[in-house]
């Protein structure tokens, strides 16, 4: 199922339980994510996909259980873990009052990078010429691309992406898929949710974690 030639465990979830407003989304969920994995979390609406991603990213606290990064609880090694984590949620983290360039610049610097060329990175996501445009004036797809440009300049091992393909055209999706494969091959891992079918990442290299809608 996995393409992991180097089966180093990056992340492991340990008996995760998530309860929201007295409703159990999932419980006793355990899995490992190795270097080289591309993992898709799937399941119907309301099954807790986003909640699971946020728990793995350390944004939400699980009701019980823990997530370990290289064998250590992520709440105990938050700085190291955050150093190796790139998370893109439903909300893009792009401010409409700033230009595309300023947004990218801020997002990269706050993650600690200081050697990058925003013009070049924006060109890679087809935003050449939009550097000076206020993000509020960009289209939904361009807005999303501004956020995704961060992936072009990242040495984080763990990418957690919640619906990264939203509002992205077909060609853009293919480019992203290529990027994910490249990232996985270089020893990283990608954890994502999506409702779209992927064309390049075929089922034999994609690992799936399925969440079911629970009634109890």
């Amino acid at each position: 199922m996995t393409i992991s030639n180097q089966s180093r465990v990056l992340l492991s979830a340990n008996e995760l339980t998530c309860i929201r407003e007295e409703r159990i989304l999932f419980d006793g969920l355990s899995f490992n994510i190795n270097a080289g994995d591309i993992v898709q979390i799937e399941g119907p609406n309301g099954a807790g996909k986003t909640s699971l991603l946020r728990i793995i990213a350390g944004l939400s606290r699980p009701y019980a259980g823990e997530v370990e990064y290289l064998g250590e609880d992520i709440t105990r090694c938050r700085d190291e873990f955050n150093h190796d984590l790139l998370y893109l949620g439903h909300l893009a983290g792009v401010k409409s009052e700033l230009t595309a360039e300023e947004n990218l610049n801020f997002n990269l610097r706050i993650s600690g990078y200081d050697d990058f060329d925003t013009t070049e990175l924006l060109a890679k996501v087809n935003l050449a010429g939009f550097e000076e445009a206020l993000a509020g004036h960009l289209s939904a797809g361009q807005h999303r691309r501004t956020a995704l440009a961060r992936l072009q300049h990242s040495n984080c091992k763990i990418w957690i992406l919640d619906e990264p393909f939203t509002a992205i055209d077909k060609k853009g999706v293919e480019e992203l898929e290529q990027l994910f494969i490249q990232h996985a091959e270089s020893g990283g891992c990608v954890i994502l949710t999506t409702h779209q079918d992927m064309s390049i990442i075929s089922d034999d290299i994609l690992r799936k974690i399925t969440l079911d809608y629970r009634f109890v």
Binding site: H83, H90, L91, G93, F106, G112, Y113, N155
Partner: protein, 228 residues
């Protein structure tokens, strides 16, 4: 790819970003200031124009108005960042959260506290503040408004995820503001009577140091709850 950005650089990045956004959104700076001026000018209309009465109540009026103006402006401290997802990115940054939070609070203070300090002497003239009190007024505002920003930010961080945060916010933070109000106004009163007021200033300074050290942690913890 190098990732050796220093704490100072991270701090300045966030500070600059907030200042830049505020400059593009000028209303954020002027609305609380306008509110401050309006509240202060309403008081003489309410209590009457006798200079002696106004002199007596001026410190209280200016400080209460400053409290309310600070609260009004605080509401938006984390709101925009929460709504567009940049707050999540801050929480996931490898930089210490309390540092980033401090940068945001400092930006807020520069944008709302400093204009308030600058305009306060003018309003003091309108309220016939005692001539000896101007120094104390400026000193207490300079020491006190950052405390308001720091303590208020805790309340804002707790309510940022809620839809109806406004009234709740005032209930949460006004009790915390009471000591600042008491010591600041009494310092101004003492100055008006030609008494020493360095004791009150020292207490305000102590509160400032205390909240500088402790508030960022409380704000950070609250933000983690709010973005959960």
């Amino acid at each position: 790819m190098k990732r050796g950005i220093s704490y100072t650089a991270a701090f300045m990045t966030l500070l600059q970003r907030d200042l830049r956004i505020a400059v593009r959104h000028r209303g954020d700076i002027f609305n609380p200031l306008l509110f401050f001026i309006l509240v202060v000018t309403l008081f003489p209309l309410g209590i009457g124009p006798e200079p002696q009465v106004l002199t007596r109540v001026a410190p209280g009026i200016i400080w209460v108005a400053a409290l309310l103006a600070s609260m009004l402006s605080l509401e938006r401290l984390f709101k925009a960042d929460y709504n567009d997802g940049t707050l999540e990115q801050m929480l996931l940054s490898p930089q210490p959260l309390s540092l980033l939070v401090l940068a945001k609070v400092l930006a807020h203070w520069i944008l709302t506290g400093v204009p308030l300090i600058l305009v306060a002497p003018l309003l003091a003239v309108l309220l016939h503040l005692d001539g000896n009190s101007y120094g104390a007024l400026m000193a207490t505002l300079a020491l006190g408004t950052p405390i308001l920003s720091l303590l208020g930010a805790i309340g804002v961080a707790l309510t940022v995820g809620l839809r109806k945060g406004g009234v709740l916010l005032s209930l949460l933070i006004l009790p915390l503001y009471i000591p600042v109000l008491i010591f600041a106004t009494s310092a101004i009163d003492a100055a008006g009577l030609n008494l020493a007021y360095d004791g009150q200033l020292a207490i305000l300074a102590a509160m400032l140091v205390g909240s500088l050290i402790l508030a960022p942690f409380a704000i950070g913890a609250s933000l983690r709850v709010s973005t959960n």
